[in-house]
């Protein structure tokens, strides 16, 4: 999980010290202005910062936008972070000059606002008006969230829950909590909060809310690495709902990318055809992202290397997505494995050279990858290192039947014998007795006691009857 909040000064220092895990040096296709206008709320800044940190060609532009974004809000920490990053990248830009005046005035305003809201809330509490208390908490939570104090925001939002009176309130409360959890990348909390509001019936805007819960839980499931469920959830998003309902989390483009990629990584060709390409509602999302649709239909049509090429082409863009970034290597390698497996299905053997031609990179053979796949069971084949072939495993059904039948018979025989032996052992009173073995042997005195004798009867009488049953079954 990411650092809980950007409020702590220590994490501030870490922010620039830490080099990002992913560096994208290819020029992505995205346009920052167009991209960022799909979103509202605090996710904008997060997305801009991510691009600024990871993408070499776009970083100045992104960081400048991030500084502007931070300044339009009231989160001083965010401004400082963005400014620091920008200064290290492009010290000559006008935005790289630290605006201390703004910092001071914003900090002062934030403090005043916090005090004001807290006093107000105290007043509501004294008056015991439930609705006012709830609204007071909500306002305070929103304020804390906007200035980046996420822990305090969670506390305030949680307090809202005590005073909810309508289902709409419950929904708001859950949404606020989920939103904070998103910023902390705490997927489990997102899921639990979204889960709480998923089945609320609110009447009018039910569809809109459903779209939000689907998108939010889909993203959270992906964050947890639960790709199949995530794909399933995202596929059920209603495309007719305005994106404004969920654009604090993701845009319709993102829904198409996440859903499409995850489905490609987890579903088979039949399911892809039926649930993605023939799915009218998800089609509307896919129209935003023709690459994904193209890749899926190429995969379904068996043109695996073309599919992989397309995906490779847009990889840079996907790596700049805040939620997708950590999962791209896994998702891509799964898709690749699936392609290899699917490619191989119609053949009984394939030369390693042709596999290299289809999937290999110029200086690396797919052989190592094949070995790994065979080892963990995703590819049912053997490598013939002599003739450079990949040979399909086709077990002889007769051999399988014979081996299984004999194994079962042998096992049954052995177990029947063993049970008979045990019955006779117990009848002859030859069990190992624990009490006798204990050093000191003081406990052995109770042998004649009634309990021991009870147990003894049980033992003898149960086992033979079991044995007899087993025999009758045969």
């Amino acid at each position: 999980m990411a650092a809980p909040a950007s409020t702590q000064p220590s994490s501030e220092a870490q922010t620039y010290a830490k080099t990002p895990d992913v560096i994208v040096s290819d020029l992505p296709k995205l346009d920052i202005d167009l991209y960022i206008q799909n979103y509202v709320g605090r996710t904008r800044y997060e997305r801009l910062i991510l691009i600024g940190r990871c993408c070499v060609p776009l970083r100045v532009e992104a960081l400048k936008a991030a500084v502007a974004e931070a300044k339009s809000g009231s989160d001083v920490t965010r401004y400082k972070d963005a400014w620091q990053l920008l200064r290290s990248v492009a010290p000559d830009e006008p935005e790289a000059k630290r605006d201390d005046e703004w910092i001071e005035s914003t900090e002062l305003a934030n403090r005043t606002e916090t005090t004001r809201l807290e006093t107000e809330l105290k007043g509501y509490r004294n008056n015991l008006i439930k609705e006012s208390i709830r609204m007071g908490n909500e306002d305070l939570g929103k304020h804390f969230e906007s200035i980046g104090k996420l822990t305090e925001a969670t506390d305030a939002y949680n307090k809202m829950r005590h005073d909810v009176s309508t289902t709409k309130h419950i929904f708001d409360c859950g949404m606020h909590l989920a939103s904070v959890a998103f910023q902390r990348h705490d997927w489990a909390t997102v899921l639990s909060n979204v889960g709480k509001i998923a089945n609320i019936q609110t009447g009018d805007d039910e569809q809109a809310q459903q779209a939000y819960t689907k998108v939010a839980s889909g993203v959270a499931l992906m964050g947890l690495g639960n790709y199949y469920d995530a794909a399933n959830t995202l596929l059920h998003t209603n495309p007719n709902v305005s994106p404004t309902e969920y654009n604090t989390v993701a845009s319709p483009n993102d829904v198409a990318i996440y859903g499409g990629l995850l489905a490609l990584a987890t579903m088979d060709r039949k399911a892809l055809q039926a649930r993605i390409l023939d799915n009218q509602s998800f089609r509307m999302f896919l129209e935003h992202e023709p690459h994904i649709r193209k890749a899926i239909s190429l995969f379904v049509n068996g043109r695996y290397s073309n599919c992989l090429t397309i995906l490779e082409g847009v990889k840079a863009d996907y790596l700049l997505d805040i939620y997708l970034q950590p999962h791209i290597p896994t998702i891509y390698s799964r898709i690749r494995e699936k392609c290899i497996v699917q490619y191989f299905i119609p053949f009984s053997c394939v030369t390693l050279d042709s596999l290299d031609a289809a999937f290999g990179t110029p200086n690396q053979s797919v052989e190592l990858e094949l070995i790994r796949m065979i080892r963990d069971g995703s590819l049912r084949a053997r490598i013939d290192a002599k003739s450079k072939l990949l040979v399909a495993v086709s077990p002889d059904p007769r051999l399988v039947v014979q081996t299984n039948a004999l194994a079962v018979a042998r096992k049954y025989e052995q177990e029947a014998k063993e049970r008979l032996r045990r019955v006779n052992l117990i009848v002859a009173g030859l069990e190992v007795s624990g009490t006798k073995k204990q050093p000191g042997g003081g406990v052995g005195g109770g042998v004649g006691g009634p309990e021991v004798e009870e147990a003894w009867y049980e033992d003898i009488t149960q086992l033979p009857s079991q044995g007899a049953e087993r025999v009758q079954e045969s």
């Binding site: 070995i371 065979i374 080892r375 053997r382 490598i383 013939d384 290192a385 002599k386 003739s387 072939l389 040979v391 002889d396 007769r398 051999l399 014979q402 081996t403 039948a405 004999l406 018979a409 042998r410 049954y412 025989e413 052995q414 177990e415 029947a416 014998k417 063993e418 049970r419 008979l420 032996r421 045990r422 019955v423 006779n424 052992l425 117990i426 009848v427 002859a428 009173g429 030859l430 069990e431 190992v432 007795s433 624990g434 009490t435 006798k436 073995k437 204990q438 147990a455 003894w456 009867y457 033992d459 003898i460 009488t461 033979p464 044995g467 007899a468 087993r470 025999v471 045969s474």
Partner: protein, 489 residues
């Protein structure tokens, strides 16, 4: 000597010369009693004229008398003129030919002769004779006797396992009940040829009293014998009998823990991975075993991983433990087999693989490195194929890169006829087992304990019915339900 003749010829060994089996039984009993309690005069007379005494009766038809004579001669002093080897030869002749039914009348004498065989003969002969005698007494070899343990000990201690195998291989299913020490003169049905071995062995006192430890020890020795022959599957079965011995009061004896440790290692050698517990072992016992043999469990877990260096380290770390448990050689054997199992597991990945590839991908657990040159790998693989551990074919080329191993299927395809035969064999053996189950069931139904249990059940039933009559149960329902809940809490 006339007295000797009078005593020994006072019995016609052929059952046909008696009007009924009952009278034969009675005659045999009184004859057995008289020949086993010889006066010292008679004993001296036999010892003075060994040759003449031995010619008095025939060992195969009158085994009762012959046993007494040979026993007196072997244990007493005989004149110099009769070589001891002659007596021993006669004893061998007797032990190979004795009448298994007559011997039941002199069970305890025969048993003591068997127990001392080790001191009369060389171990190899003694083990062979013991195994023969055990199987003559009980051709199925399915009843455990104290002689089994004597033989196993002798065979293992003197490393004469070969002749003992026919007894060791037999499945032991029955155990004589030694609740009342048998006296041959009171025993019934000694003559009955139809009676089951576990009945006559106990009543003819052909076995000494048996304790659970003797059974455990026997199976452990049996396993050790198989281990020394590197027969892992059989060793594993024997060890499973040790670790799965029925337990009262959750206790696990030391032999069982020792057995568990060996069982784990043998499992690694046999399957290349840690064995799984038989179904009849309870969870409590499993955790006891696991708790008591942590070092072994670590080895077993590492065995299936690529971590050859970790395995080696663990082995070195636990050296005192292995030495203390005298499992060092077994562990060394396991370490040697580590690489072999890695090679075997390549079967899952390759259809054909070159020797140099094997060298690069497998590690030896003894050095935690790959083998130094391809020649060693070639040697290793061809040894494995020769020993039948690896099913495959080796094609030796000019260089290691051109030498390939082709892996074959783990099991060979049988012809339909072979398969049918194998199934029929299984079927027959299960049929036999069914019969034995039925017999056991009947036998158990007639035990005192079962009868007592039945009586108790009956009483309980009566009580239940009485209760129902009063309506106690229904009464409760009408009352405040909370009382029951509170009482229970």
């Amino acid at each position: 000597m006339d007295e000797v003749k009078r005593i020994f010829l006072d019995f016609s060994p052929s059952p046909a010369s008696y009007p009924s089996t009952k009278s034969y039984d009675a005659a045999a009993k009184s004859y057995a009693a008289s020949v086993t309690k010889l006066s010292s005069d008679v004993q001296t007379a036999i010892q003075r004229n060994p040759i003449e005494a031995l010619q008095l009766v025939d060992p195969s038809t009158n085994s009762i008398g012959y046993l007494s004579i040979i026993d007196t001669l072997l244990r007493g002093s005989v004149p110099e003129s009769t070589p001891r080897s002659l007596l021993l030869d006669e004893a061998v002749r007797f032990l190979l030919k004795f009448d298994p039914i007559q011997i039941r009348y002199v069970g305890s004498l025969f048993r003591s002769l068997l127990e001392d065989l080790g001191s009369f003969f060389s171990p190899l002969v003694a083990v062979e004779l013991l195994a023969n005698a055990i199987l003559r007494i009980d051709p199925s070899g399915s009843v455990f006797t104290s002689t089994h343990l004597v033989m196993a000990k002798l065979a293992y201690d003197t490393n004469c396992i070969e002749p003992a195998l026919k007894v060791l291989d037999a499945d032991i299913l029955f155990y004589p009940r030694n609740t009342h020490p048998a006296r041959p003169e009171n025993a019934k049905n000694l003559y009955d040829t139809e009676v089951e071995p576990y009945v006559y062995i106990a009543s003819a006192s052909l076995t000494d009293a048996i304790k659970s430890t003797s059974i455990l020890e026997y199976h452990l020795l049996q396993a050790m014998a198989y281990i020394s022959r590197k027969d892992w599957p059989k060793a594993q079965v024997a060890l499973e009998r040790v670790i799965g011995h029925p337990i009262k009061d959750k206790g696990v004896s030391k032999i069982m823990v020792d057995g568990y440790k060996k069982w784990l290692l043998v499992g690694l050698l046999r399957e290349g991975r840690p064995p799984s517990f038989p179904s009849y072992i309870t969870n409590a016992t499993k955790s006891t075993y696991n708790g008591l043999s942590e070092a072994y469990n670590n080895i077993a877990t590492l065995f299936t991983t690529d971590g050859a260096s970790a395995l080696k380290e663990e082995f070195e770390k636990g050296r005192p433990t292995w030495e203390e448990d005298s499992n060092l050689t077994l562990l060394e054997e396991a370490l040697v087999s580590y690489q072999k199992w890695q090679v075997i597991n390549l079967r899952r990945i390759y259809h054909q693989v070159s020797i140099s590839q094997i060298r690069q991908t497998t590690l030896s657990a003894q050095t935690a490195e790959t083998l130094k040159d391809d020649g060693e790998v070639l040697q290793l693989v061809s040894d494995m194929i020769d020993s039948g551990m690896l099913k495959g074919k080796l094609q030796v080329g000019l260089t290691a890169g051109e030498s390939y191993v082709t892996f074959h299927e783990e099991h060979d395809l049988m012809t339909e006829a072979d398969f049918a035969r194998e199934v029929a064999r299984s079927h027959a053996s299960i049929e036999t087992l069914t019969k034995q189950y039925r017999v056991t069931n009947e036998r158990l139904s007639s035990t005192k304990d079962y009868a007592r249990h039945l009586v108790r059940e009956q009483k309980r039933m009566d009580k239940d019915i009485a209760d129902a009559g009063v309506g106690f149960d229904t009464h409760i329902e009408d009352e405040d339900l909370m009382t029951g809940v509170l009482g229970g809490a």
